[in-house]
């Protein structure tokens, strides 16, 4: 799989570290913390995820891709959008 890094351009996925779902928000209180830490949707289709370009620009990016086809649908710096 090749990932479109907004700084470096298209790179092999091996250069990146995967974190996961970018849409999760840390809850304010302990309620919901277990779900935040452990519960994941297993999406089939477009999904936005955090990837860290460890072997490139050393930046966190938010990548939207189709999990069924690995098609890249866009990538932005994580600090510019979803947290």
């Amino acid at each position: 799989m090749r990932i479109d890094c907004p700084y470096c351009g298209e790179r092999d996925a091996q250069e990146f570290v995967y974190r996961g779902d970018a849409s999760l928000m840390r809850p304010e209180s302990e309620d919901g913390m277990a779900d935040y830490v452990y519960l994941r949707d297993n999406l089939a289709g477009p999904m936005t995820e955090h990837w860290y370009h460890a072997q490139g620009c050393r930046t966190w990016i938010a990548v939207t891709r189709d999990t069924t086809t690995h098609a890249m649908l866009g990538a932005i710096f994580a600090r510019d959008g979803v947290r």
Partner: protein
């Protein structure tokens, strides 16, 4: 006969520059009198100083001829704008030139080195043989052959050199 010249460089200065929060590349470029590229690129300015884009808000500063006060002077000029860390001893630099230089690089790094994509002034941070490298392309030599420079961590240099020797032997 392969057309490849491998030179291990010495006497250079290398430092990382990381912009403080909210400081633009423009401000850093103004302070140093050389363009601080917003993309992976090699920009050479006056006073033998070049900036190489290594990430969003981060650059390598490079000089061919280092002086003892080089990195402190850099730090003073970027006071309040960026953090500067001298890496002159942390990285090794190697220069590959000649018609076959591109072939050698292409066998190591999974990025496109076609001249239309990786022209003089281009730069990239990537891996070769699992070893982190920063690569930039200088102006072609007098005979129009490409010239690349590669920075790699000093502690990995022997391993990198082994990859290079094996790959060059197969040309």
């Amino acid at each position: 006969m392969a057309d490849l010249l491998v030179e291990q460089l010495s006497g250079f200065g290398l430092a990382t520059i990381m912009a403080r929060k909210g400081v633009s590349g423009m401000a850093i470029g103004m302070a140093l009198g050389v363009e601080a590229p917003a993309q992976p690129a090699f920009c050479r300015g006056e006073n033998n100083l070049a900036l190489i884009g290594t990430g969003a808000g981060s650059w390598f500063a490079h000089t061919d001829m280092v002086s003892p006060a080089w990195h402190t002077a850099l730090r003073d000029r970027l006071a309040e704008l960026a953090s500067v860390s001298d890496q002159s001893d942390g990285y090794m630099l190697i220069r590959l030139s000649g018609e076959d230089a591109r072939t050698v690089l292409q066998r190591g790094a999974a990025i496109d080195f076609h001249p239309e994509v990786f022209a003089p002034g281009a730069a990239a941070t990537t891996v070769i043989a699992h070893i982190g490298v920063v690569i930039w392309r200088r102006d072609d030599d007098a005979r129009g052959r490409p010239k690349y420079e590669i920075a790699t961590f000093r502690s990995y240099f022997d391993s990198f050199r082994r990859w290079l020797d094996h790959t060059a032997a197969a040309l």
